[in-house]
């Protein structure tokens, strides 16, 4: 099985970001450019993190959503069907971001990983009162995963003696 490329080292997006930066010196990026790059980016990072989290047996779709189509105060969501092993991740689209391109894409990746961690935990029952605690834990797990994102799965850290 082919391991998806690491998104942080993606040649495609490194080139695109460089190009976007160079273009930015001359003219503002259009909203369409940002949206198009965002759409390509989330479709690139999804298979990588899906594999990292051993969710290859799930059929996961991803799409960008306008902020008004998400719950107020949220940046994305996931809906899943455990029986069909299918899920859809919605990530807030570029119209909801006022950050520069790189920061926007980085945050979109956080949303993808965050929602995939939710999917990992989908089989566990969560009481309404525990939801905020679960969110807190998932935020920390997401941060840890992203911090270790540059390390290859086949290259674990050496054990200290």
């Amino acid at each position: 099985m082919t391991v998806p490329h690491l998104p942080r080292l993606s040649l495609l997006f490194s080139a695109l970001l460089l190009l976007a930066g160079a273009c930015g010196a001359h003219a503002e990026q259009t909203a369409e450019d940002r949206q198009s790059l965002a759409n390509r980016y989330v479709h690139e990072v999804l298979p990588y993190w899906q594999h990292r989290l051993a969710l290859d047996d799930w059929d996961i779709h991803i799409l960008l959503s306008r902020p008004e189509d998400l719950r107020p105060g949220t940046l994305g969501n996931i809906h899943w069907d455990r029986d069909k092993k299918a899920a859809t991740i919605r990530v807030m689209d570029s119209t909801g971001y006022h950050a520069d391109l790189a920061a926007m894409l980085k945050d979109m990746q956080v949303t993808v990983v965050h929602e995939l961690v939710h999917l990992e935990l989908a089989s566990l029952p969560v009481a309404e009162a525990d939801r905020s605690n679960q969110e807190f834990a998932i935020d920390h797990l997401t941060d840890a995963l992203l911090a270790s994102g540059s390390r290859s799965v086949a290259d674990p850290p050496a054990l200290s003696r």
Binding site: D69, L70, R71, P72, G73, T74, L75, G76, N77, I78, H79, W80, D81, R82, V110, T111, H114, E115, H118, A122, V126, A127, E128, R131, S132, E135, F136, D139
Partner: protein, 136 residues
Amino acid sequence: MKITLSAIALMAALSMASYAADFTGQLMDATCAEQSHTGTPSAATPASPSAGSATTSSTTSSKACNATTATTAFALEANGKTYKLDSAGNTKAAAAIKSRADRSADPTKAMSAIYTAKVTGTDSSGTISVESIDIQ
């Protein structure tokens, strides 16, 4: 000729009556909403056909009766009315609300307790026979 036209008109009327429609609104806990309207515990409310009638939504019920993952009987506040969901709808809504999660923009703040849903189904005396439900 007259009979044919009447038959066509009747068939058209019947097909219109059973035509599924989309209802978009706020998902509520039906038991709680009913208590808010009647001011009595739902267990004491007699199960009569009129109990399913769509009622004009009240602000009180909107604030206090948001659906949660613990809800088993759902209602939908849409177009200024409160609709109940049928049994299949309750099952679908319960599954949908448990099979979703969000990423909050500010994890230090409590997330909105409101679930907006688009319900596709047929309204019959204030109860929607649910074909599908899509929670935002």
